[in-house]
């Protein structure tokens, strides 16, 4: 293992639990130690052995940091504003609960008490997770690279496949249904499905905002959650005059143009941001 591989591995491991800023500081310090060691006449391999594996280094840094947190944490000055990250997370959670309320109570006319109770439960969960994460109370496995990789890959794939599914539904140029009962059932089923997907997307958005701050996933999740949300709204409106359901491409782009575009925008934004984000990240690493 050479210096570059060592530092890359270390960066990847640290990013699972530390902020980008902190990670970059540590990686820069280790790069300097490598350079100092090389100037001393040691080989890269010898230095890698000396520093220990990236895994053990990351583990040790996490452990030490965990032990330090209560003592070195700067006490908040009463009345001073909370750190930006905490504020952003808080408002994200509030916005999410409002949207959840809308998703549940507004289109389906379900009981508002139900929606409020669910919103409060979700708010508690999200804030609890955020708090536990900041205080390092979460067990280590929840922050392991493997879990992170699984979660992020899963969201990425779910988003892509769902977008494809939504597009296919919309691109059916001539949807005719003969059986009215079946149609109502199918539409209801779809409405519930979309609502669940909306919640999943929005949760993944908030999760990213709280823990990973991955720009690409953040935008992706936001776009898709709104796309799905509007799709659910559209379907429910359609259900009201269900006996005359006859969707053509014109009715979609004409009457229901508005919900169609967030999805297109979402796909375009996602596809545009992914390589941009990668390039931006690569340039950051190079400097």
């Amino acid at each position: 293992m050479g210096q570059q591989e060592y530092l890359a591995a270390l960066r990847r491991l640290l990013r699972t639990r530390l902020t980008k800023k902190e990670t970059e500081i540590i990686v820069a310090d280790y790069r300097e130690y490598f350079e100092s060691g090389l100037a001393d006449g040691k080989s890269e391999e010898a230095l890698c052995l000396e520093f220990g594996t990236p895994e053990s280094t990351a583990q040790e840094l996490f452990l030490q940091r965990q032990a330090d947190t209560p003592q070195t944490g700067v006490p908040r000055i009463p009345g001073a504003p909370a750190p930006l990250r905490a504020r952003v997370s808080f408002w994200a959670a509030v916005v999410m609960c409002f949207l959840l309320y809308m998703a549940f109570a507004w289109p389906l006319n379900s009981s508002p008490t139900h929606a409020v109770a669910l919103s409060i439960l979700l708010l508690t969960l999200i804030l609890g997770f955020g708090f536990a994460e900041r205080r390092n109370l979460l067990p280590a496995w929840t922050c392991s690279p493997a879990i992170y990789r699984i979660v992020s890959t899963q969201f990425y794939l779910t988003e892509l496949s769902l977008t494809a599914a939504i597009c296919l539904i919309f691109l059916q140029t001539d949807l005719r249904f003969s059986n009215e009962g079946l149609l109502t059932q199918a539409a209801t089923f779809m409405c519930i499905g979309y609502r669940i997907f909306f919640i999943l997307f929005f949760l993944s958005f908030v999760w990213n905002l709280l823990f990973h701050k991955n720009r690409i996933f953040l935008f992706g999740n936001l776009f898709f959650s709104f796309g799905v949300f509007f799709t659910a709204l559209l379907l429910e409106r359609q259900m009201q005059n269900i006996s005359t359901l006859h969707i053509t491409m014109e009715t979609i782009t004409g009457t229901y143009g508005a919900p169609f575009f967030p999805i297109l925008l979402g796909i375009a934004g996602f596809l545009a941001l992914a390589p941009l984000g990668k390039r931006w990240g690569a340039r950051k690493l190079a400097t």
């Binding site: 100092s36 100037a39 040790e60 070195t72």
Partner: protein, 104 residues
């Protein structure tokens, strides 16, 4: 190894002379071979976060740019406290007259 002892050793090194990270790491690792480099590095970071040291950058001729650590007045106070505690500990242990490299 006791983290307080490691911190004391690092503070003492900085008291003697301003040093760069790898130099501190190497000297501490030589004295305590069983301690992980990342532990020493973490303590160095903690010392800095607590305001006991300040950093400055110097580029030597034909060398990489290095982050140097220097003791601050707060660090000096901390070193004085640590030294007092260390002396107490050493005196207390010495009062038992344990022979050097004692192996029961």
């Amino acid at each position: 190894m006791n983290k307080g002892v490691l911190e004391f050793c690092i503070l003492f090194q900085l008291y003697q002379k301003e040093k760069y990270g790898y130099e501190i790491l190497k000297a501490t690792k030589t004295a305590f071979p069983e301690v992980h480099e990342a532990t020493i590095y973490s303590i160095l970071r903690r010392i800095h976060a607590a305001g006991y040291s300040e950093i400055f950058f110097t580029r030597e001729t034909l060398g990489p740019e290095r982050k140097y650590y220097r003791l601050t007045p707060a660090g000096f106070t901390r070193l004085r406290e640590s030294a007092a505690e260390w002396n107490r500990t050493v005196r207390a242990v010495a009062s038992f007259e344990i022979p050097l490299s004692f192996e029961p």
